[in-house]
Amino acid sequence: MSEEQRAEKFLEIFNKGKEFTEELIRENQRLRYRVASLETESPSISPEELQRLRDQVSHLTEENRRIQQRFREVEEENKDFASRYIEIEEQNNNLASLYVASYQLHSTLDFREVIQIVQEIVINLIGAEAFAILLLDEKTNELKTIAFEGDDVMSGLGQISTRLGEGIMGTVAKTGESYYINQDVDGGGAISIDKPLAAVPLKIKEHVIGLIVIYKLLQQKDSFTAVDYELFSLLAAHAATAIFSSKLYSQSERKLNTIQSFLDLLTTTG
């Protein structure tokens, strides 16, 4: 290669370098312009706007706090409603038991049937395993068993005989005040034929005609519940009137039959 050819080659390379450098400068300018444009397109937030946004955040935070507070209140109300619902359910259940007991007691005038119903109530609604129903003989002032259940767990239930005013049962019959001991506290061991778990007087107003005496509750039942005391109150009055009415009815039936027979006899002989 001659000197002249080498100089041309160098000039060509130099020109290409110049073009490349100019191209780089243009690109640099273009990028600077782009940066400047972007800076213009995204202006910084003004203090007023910032304050407005801060106020909005504060407002939303307060709203959130209020909603959370209301949520807690509603939750509490729900708990109240739930517990009230359970209470009402229980009341409903108790009322049903009381209604059924009352309805059944007055559903018949047959003395044996009335006694059977009292037994059913004591077994099924109160949950007693061993108990006795005593009636007061007003001539002798003695309380005697007329029905019982659970002789296998408390022997002698069929032969209870107590004088008015004597012992726990006699006192209950005389005063008309119910007697209860808590099976949980006092234990089943303390129970004897003379010391029952509960003795409830059967009363027509203040006149005691007999007792329901409970000695043992069913295995699955630990102690008396609130509805049991309600049932005892109901039995005290309603069982007494039902027993008394059925006794009067059977007596009047017998008398009527006797009079009818007498009249028949007079008619036949006359």
């Binding site: 359970i86 359910e89 229980e90 409903n92 259940n93 049903a96 038991s97 209604y99 059924v100 007991a101 309805y103 059944q104 559903s107 119903i117 059913e120 109530i121 077994i123 099924n124 609604l125 109160i126 949950g127 395993e129 069913l218 295995q219 699955q220 039942k221």
Partner: protein, 125 residues
């Protein structure tokens, strides 16, 4: 559960009435009563389709355990849910009742809410 037919097997009229009272919580429930196991089998063979049986154990003529056993052996009746309601609260009594095929065992005195919950669970399956 609506329009369910319940068979209540109890010798005590007081308990029959009390259970029926609880069952009225189910809309349009029809309650059929039987006084013992034999009476229950008669009612089960009648025209009414029974959805659930509630039975006592201690009853005259045929007790509740025998009834449960016979129902479970019967090809037509064997899938009817059965609840035993009884004064027998011992664990071995419960196990015996469930082993014979009862679906639930409730001791007396009954809590209506418990009975309703048990029935609802059995009928929703």
């Amino acid at each position: 559960m609506e329009n369910a037919n319940f068979l209540v097997v109890e010798d005590s009229p007081t308990m029959r009435q009390l259970i029926s009272f609880s069952l009225k919580r189910f809309k349009n429930a029809k309650i059929i009563e039987a006084v013992d196991g034999v009476d229950a089998l008669k009612k089960l063979s009648g025209p009414e389709k029974i959805d659930l049986i509630l039975t006592d154990i201690n009853m005259p003529v045929m007790d509740g355990l025998k009834l449960v056993s016979l129902v479970r052996q019967n090809a037509v009746l064997k899938n009817i849910p059965i609840i035993i309601i009884t004064t027998e609260g011992a664990e071995e009594d419960r196990e015996r009742g469930l082993a014979l095929g009862a679906n639930a065992y409730i001791s007396k005195p009954i809590q209506s809410s418990h009975l309703i919950k048990t029935i609802s669970e059995l009928l929703s399956v």
